[in-house]
Symmetry: C2
Subunit: 225 residues, 2 copies
């Protein structure tokens, strides 16, 4: 379903290359729930951006549902990014000038849904993450944790087959985090949605079936739990 | 040292007022280390922004070192914000187009230090938070946790007498978090720096002497530990 082979990523800093990923290989089955852990700066977000087709590796191959991502054209990539994958960024990436509900509806704009259906779906998913009543707040009228939950709602609204979440509970208290993980677990078990989630909190990682650990751009551990 | 009496904050949403803080009273002694916890949206950041003189309350009084903050003029407030208080924002607030070291040196620009002294202090504090070698990276060339540590370094560089930190370890792994908390503890014990820190992680809160819990804009618990 998801297979990466010897993925490397080098960032250019002046005339030096910094290896953020040093040849990472991993296979994830459809419907798996995988947690990714590792020290700050170990390459987790770099890896997630490549999985989400938001960045290209310097080396290596990436197969998604049997297709090699490196050989797809711009239009195919846009379909994957928009229809198949729901992405929760570590930095939220909300549009500041529009409301929570408008941010959440963005992925639906290309789907041909009526504005009434878009609104209905948006309100339902914001309520699922505990933000009923805050739909018309703009990001600067929401707390850090509320903004993070808008970002999660936006990733879920299009019923993607894969959810890629980068520290989705980093700004949330343990009660709100547990509610969100229960939602993730439900989507994973009942709808067979594949989830890859970066977290630094062990109790959050324990919701996953498998734990993959990064260090200095490499996978140093991969264990089921 | 820090005393707030019946602090209230209402946000205007359309023609409705939303009470983010409903009359909060608290006294913090010089050299205390206080953790602030509470559910997402309970008013923690609103409270911290008022403590940091970044926002004004709708009601109530705030005394800092015996002076009433509400009656100070713009220049006095700028001195407090710049010299007395180091602030770590929940959303980092780094300037995107300049490097880590330049972001960290910003608070020093108004101090009359030579550029050589500024550079030396900036490098020392970036190394103290584990970012030796990343000084010339811009924020988009750093990971989430590294950006957070630049924000912490910027709050420390001016040797403030008060550190206000809003979820300083939200994006950090447990090893890096422990190293930072050890640094905070050292600053608190050896230099008698007063620290007020918002966190949702119990093991981070345990570094503090006192734990204050917020819920729906009010303090519901205040216990020493
Ligand atoms: N400008 C604003 N207009 C309207 N409501 C606001 C505004 N800013 C914040 N709020 C509301 O005030 C409440 C308190 O926000 P605050 O940022 O203090 O919460 P918090 O305790 O820091 O939460 P978190 O743990 O998620 O960071 C939230 O419910 C938020 O929706
Ligand atoms: N554009 C860039 N140029 C140079 N170096 C970069 C760039 N982007 C990231 N890096 C470096 O690559 C390394 C990996 O970054 P990445 O964001 O993948 O880390 P991470 O594991 O997600 O860390 P965190 O837990 O702090 O979010 C970091 O050390 C970072 O400094
Ligand atoms: Mg990251
Ligand atoms: Mg907050």
């Amino acid at each position: 379903f998801i297979k990466v082979i010897d993925i490397a990523k080098k960032y250019k800093m002046g005339d030096v290359d910094f290896p953020a990923l040093k040849g990472v290989s991993l296979a994830i089955d459809r419907g798996e729930f995988v947690a990714i852990m590792g020290p700050s700066g170990s390459g987790k977000s770099t890896f997630m951006n490549i999985l989400g087709c938001l960045d290209v590796p310097t080396d290596g191959r990436y197969f998604l549902e049997g297709q090699e991502v490196g050989s797809l054209d711009k239009d195919d990539l846009a379909v994957i990014r928009n229809k198949k994958i729901g992405f929760v960024f570590q930095s939220f990436n909300l549009l500041a000038r529009i409301s929570a509900i408008e941010n959440v509806e963005l992925p639906l704009l290309y789907n041909g849904l009526s504005s009434k259906d878009r609104l209905q779906r948006g309100i339902a998913v914001l309520s699922a993450v505990g933000l009923k009543g805050k739909e018309y707040h703009r990001p600067n009228q929401l707390s850090g944790g509320e903004q993070q939950r808008v970002a999660i709602a936006r990733a879920l609204v299009n019923n993607p087959s894969i959810i890629l979440a980068d520290e989705p509970t980093g700004n949330l208290d343990s009660q709100t985090s547990a509610e969100l993980m229960t939602l993730f677990k439900q989507l994973n078990k009942e709808k067979h949605i594949t989830i890859v989630m970066v977290t630094h909190e062990a109790d959050i990682a324990s919701y996953a079936d498998r734990r993959v650990c990064f260090k200095d751009g490499e996978i140093i551990k991969d264990e089921c739990q």
